[in-house]
């Protein structure tokens, strides 16, 4: 039996499932001031109802997300070494940002040794300010980790925790590496005390299940591993929702998933039955990160979006100003328009009607017209955001003639819509998207189910340079010698094994090779060596054994 828990904006849901379906579930109010108490109270009550002990617990929490958004983090000493390019001060983050001279080039050759005096100065300055959590990041550190290791070593005596950039993987993006390492160090302490408390709480209940957290890519990561990479737990909520839909609906082939909420609509794309992962990483609070995430976009249209009307037309959102009038709000929203049109029966229909009438009077228009236009405007906005996302996926740059001539394109056949207003909008969605719109029956704890059935996911990059005689798997802090006979096939095998070691999984068929390239490096007309790059990943999915039960559920 497995337990899935999802911390939402208003409720924290927990569900226990086995291969025959849902065993029991609970909903408790979310206390944003004390997430731990919400989590523990949901765990307690759902476990109370469980007939047998659970073997695994998957948590999707907003702990790190909220801590970062609200600035409830600890100060971080950020030390970066940067070769030529964009000035590193443009990447400044936090109040203790230090640039240490030293540079690696794109092949990982040391261009400039690390400046020991500047390093010492930065370490001292942090010590004086009582900083105990650090991020050390070098430009091109996935090609040579030495400078990051030297910086971490210099902080060893004074740091409780150091995030080294290369631990975040082998993808090249210095600014994202800095941001992600900073976030990771900033939430490390908060996250670990939360993890301690959850473990302790479960121990007191007499169970010691496998604990894992849900990530923004819709996969899980063992809690133990997440203790040094807590940043991986940010923005897992939308991923839980997407995984919930894929569990509850028989999502196959290419499809689009819509989660229409109160303030916004989240869009995800499924290719071949599996959520598509974004090539970069998730954006958070105005900064880009290396945290793997699904391809998604969000638009500010939801049930609570404020309506405005004039002779020129009706607009929906982007702002929210409390709930709809039907539920006691003060201004008419999209949900009130749905109520007026008879598409929904939420709260007080009378309140919705008077709100819509007032809106129509202000703009000297017919009230039914205004309500209908609001609904069609909202759906048109969703449609154009979906189209734009699909175009963006299909227009993703490619770098070979072969891929230009034989492009892989997705062509969504079905649209799945969930969330409060989804049912009310279903006819309008069908007329915008065609007959293949599915609005599955609402499930009270869909997100918790999504967390429960998720599988481990992971990505890993390998880089080898046979002229320099090295191979690196930055994620594993692995750096080893290779001779000139090291080839792409060896690299693929090494990467595959590395990835399996990370997820402790046995089934090798799930591994997707994102990139596998080997280039001859020519110097002075002769072969100097090869540069080899391999990137592989395990995409999110659902544990097979749980599938049949949930497809019956829906």
């Amino acid at each position: 039996m497995r337990l899935g828990l999802d911390v939402g904006g208003t409720h924290t849901d927990a569900v226990i499932i086995d291969t025959s379906g849902i065993v029991c579930s609970v909903k408790v109010p979310t206390d944003h001031g004390n997430l731990l108490s919400s989590v523990m109270s949901a765990l307690n009550s759902v476990l109370d109802a469980a007939p047998t002990p659970v073997s695994a617990v998957h948590l999707s929490t907003t702990l790190t997300t909220n801590a970062l958004l609200e600035g409830k983090t600890e100060p971080v000493g950020v030390l970066v070494s940067s070769g030529p390019g964009i000035h590193p001060l443009h990447h400044r983050i936090g109040d203790a940002f230090f640039v240490v001279d030293g540079a690696m080039d794109h092949r990982g050759a040391e261009v400039l040794p690390l400046d020991a005096a500047q390093l010492g100065h930065a370490a001292n300055a942090c010590k004086e300010r009582g900083i105990r959590s650090f991020a050390v990041v070098g430009k091109f550190s996935p090609r040579n980790t030495m400078h990051e290791k030297l910086m971490a070593a210099a902080l060893a005596g004074q740091a409780d925790f150091v995030t080294s950039g290369h631990m975040l993987g082998g993808r090249l993006n210095f600014p994202r590496r800095i941001t992600t390492a900073y976030f990771n160090a900033a939430v490390w302490r908060t996250y670990n005390s939360f993890a301690d408390a959850v473990e302790e709480g479960l121990r007191k209940l007499g169970i010691q299940p496998d604990l894992a957290i849900l990530k923004a890519d819709g996969g899980t990561m063992p809690l133990a591993a997440s203790r040094s990479l807590p940043v991986q737990s940010i923005l897992s909520g939308p991923a839980a929702s997407i995984m919930g839909i894929t569990a509850l609906c028989d999502v196959q082939g290419d499809a689009v998933l819509l989660d229409i909420g109160g303030t916004s609509t989240d869009i995800a794309v499924v290719a071949g039955g599996t959520p598509l992962l974004a090539p970069g990483g998730i954006g958070f609070n105005g900064r880009q990160t290396l945290v793997r995430a699904m391809v998604s976009s969000s638009l500010a249209v939801g049930g609570d979006s404020v309506l405005r009307a004039s002779a020129g037309g009706v607009s929906v959102g982007p702002d929210r100003c409390g709930p709809c009038m039907a539920l006691g709000g003060s201004v008419p929203t999209l949900m009130d328009a749905c109520n007026y049109c008879g598409l929904s029966h939420v709260g007080s229909l009378e309140a919705s009607r008077s709100g819509m009438e007032a809106l129509a009077r202000l703009s000297h228009r017919d009230v039914a017209d205004v309500a209908r236009e609001a609904v069609s405007r909202a759906v048109a906005a969703i449609k154009s955001a979906v189209d734009a996302l699909v175009v963006a996926v299909n227009e993703k740059p490619v770098y070979t003639v072969r891929e230009m001539l034989h492009p892989e394109r997705i062509a969504p056949k079905k649209i799945y819509a969930v969330g409060g207003p989804a049912h009310a909008l279903s006819d309008a969605l069908s007329s915008a998207f065609g007959p293949n719109v599915v609005v599955p029956r609402q499930h009270a704890v869909a997100n918790a189910i999504g967390a429960a059935i998720a599988r481990p996911t992971c990505g890993l990059e390998l880089y080898a340079d046979t002229e320099r005689g090295v191979k690196l798997i930055p994620h594993l802090s692995l750096s080893a010698k290779v001779d000139r006979s090291y080839a792409l096939e060896h690299a693929k095998e090494d990467a595959r094994r590395g990835l399996l070691s990370l997820v402790a999984a046995e089934s090798p068929t799930d591994i997707e090779l994102v990139e596998a390239s080997s280039f001859n490096m020519i110097q002075g007309g002769r072969l100097a060596g090869k540069t080899i790059r391999v990137q592989c990943q395990i995409r999110p999915g659902i544990e097979e054994s749980y599938l049949p039960a949930f497809r019956r559920e829906s």
Partner: protein
């Protein structure tokens, strides 16, 4: 950081295409540039967006070149994608999706001439010309300036625009007496209908940042100010770099960025540049930052040595002398005694294709015309193809030139020694290729 200009970058490194495994134009060429751009996080900067190239159509090529025997025989898909990358850059600008665009694509194109029998100087089709004529086909006859900053003379682009008064072609390059292709001398100034619309600036070997920027400030900018183009295109070859293995200059990455900032082209298109590890990552990064209007003060090559890269005073003197001659050429050209409008003027050309080892003997005749670029007739006798006759009725052709072109085409169909007959009829959008 936020880009001051909305910049579109088309990155197409053609990782699966090479002229031959060890040729400078090989798979590896833009690999380290891509690494650098990625590590800098360039495409996360608000305002800078990466776009996919298009694939140029056969018609896009046939509107510019006489491909002998036909387009398919002298191009591969990679050439059409590279040209399509330039077209995409133009589309971004013309449709207003970007303020500036950079086609960071390969293979290059600026040695490809009007008539194409194969590959010369690593080029098959002229990607800038395909782009420019695509613009004109869809947006009308624009005044366009091309500033070619590749180290080699842009002889292909010069050949294509030799007669076009609406295109100003300026080439900065290492003196042809010391480098392939050997042309680009001061006195090459364009045909009778576009005299002094071709401007050559041959630079002595070992020209450094000082010399290049002097030329931009004192020659290129004043000429552009006078010509007042609708669009400025930069053929952004990067082989002037001090580490380039096949040239002899001292230009730096920051110099390229400064040049770009001063020139402020609407569109830049990559041409040559073969120091793929030591120069291209930094030069390309510099061009992107400069085009986006961002700070590049921290950009320099790892082995940059200001002492060693200082320009010799003798080089500086030579450049100053040459500057006056070039300005004279543009502002007060010594017009030759051109015959009256309505008569044909001919010149003989010998063209050698270094990569494909083809020799071509051409007789090129243009009708002297004061109203249009003039109907163009090229007879091409090459070492690999049957004799060909090529007729171009230019965009915006006057009635007389159009009539003369069609008439010559008719005559040729009836009789003549040429086995291949091609017609580019821009006003009527007819591109004909016949074996006779």
């Amino acid at each position: 950081m936020r880009a001051g200009n909305r910049l579109g970058v088309i990155v197409f490194p053609a990782f699966d295409w090479a002229i031959s495994p060890t040729h400078p134009e090989r798979q590896e060429r833009l690999l380290y540039t891509q690494d650098q751009l990625r590590e800098e996080g360039i495409f996360d900067i608000p305002g800078i967006t990466e776009y996919k190239p298009e694939i140029a159509s056969v018609e896009d090529v046939a509107r510019v070149h006489f491909c002998i025997p036909d387009v398919a025989s002298v191009t591969t898909e990679s050439h059409l994608i590279s040209a399509g990358g330039a077209v995409r850059a133009a589309r971004l600008i013309m449709e207003g999706q970007a303020d500036k665009a950079f086609a960071l694509v390969r293979p290059p194109g600026h040695h490809a001439m009007k008539v194409v029998h194969g590959n010369r100087g690593f080029c098959n089709v002229n990607i800038e010309a395909v782009m420019i004529e695509w613009i004109r086909e869809h947006y009308g006859q624009k005044r366009i300036a091309i500033v070619d900053t590749d180290c080699h003379h842009g002889d292909g682009t010069q050949d294509i625009y030799w007669h076009d008064p609406n295109t100003l072609f300026i080439s900065l390059h290492q003196d042809g007496r010391t480098l392939y292709p050997g042309s680009g001398h001061l006195e090459e100034l364009g045909g009778p209908n576009a005299f002094a619309k071709t401007i050559n600036i041959p630079l002595p070997p070992m020209t450094g940042d000082e010399g290049f920027l002097h030329v931009i400030d004192n020659i290129v900018i004043p000429i552009l100010n006078d010509f007042r183009p609708d669009l400025v295109i930069n053929s952004a070859g990067q082989d002037n770099h001090y580490s380039d293995p096949i040239t002899n200059m001292l230009f730096t990455a920051r110099g390229y960025a400064l040049l770009n900032e001063k020139l402020s082209p609407d569109i830049a298109v990559l041409e040559g540049g073969y120091s793929i590890q030591g120069a291209l990552p930094y030069v390309n990064c510099g061009i992107v930052l400069a085009m986006a209007g961002l700070d590049y003060s921290f950009l320099r090559e790892p082995d940059h040595d200001a002492q060693r890269l200082r320009q010799d005073p003798r080089v500086t003197r030579q450049i100053r002398l040459m500057t006056d001659a070039v300005l004279e050429n543009y502002f007060r050209p010594k017009r030759k005694d051109f015959p009256d409008p309505g008569t044909f003027i001919s010149r003989r050309k010998r063209i050698f294709y270094d990569t494909d080892m083809i020799a071509d003997e051409q007789v090129e005749s243009v009708m002297r015309c004061s109203e249009c670029a003039g109907v163009l007739i090229i007879e091409s006798d090459s070492s690999i193809n049957p004799p060909a006759l090529c007729i171009e009725i230019p965009l915006g052709a006057c009635a007389r030139c159009r009539e003369a072109g069609l008439q010559r085409h008719e005559q040729q169909l009836a009789r003549g020694r040429h086995r291949i007959l091609q017609l580019i009829n821009r006003p009527d959008k007819i591109y004909e290729n016949r074996s006779v």
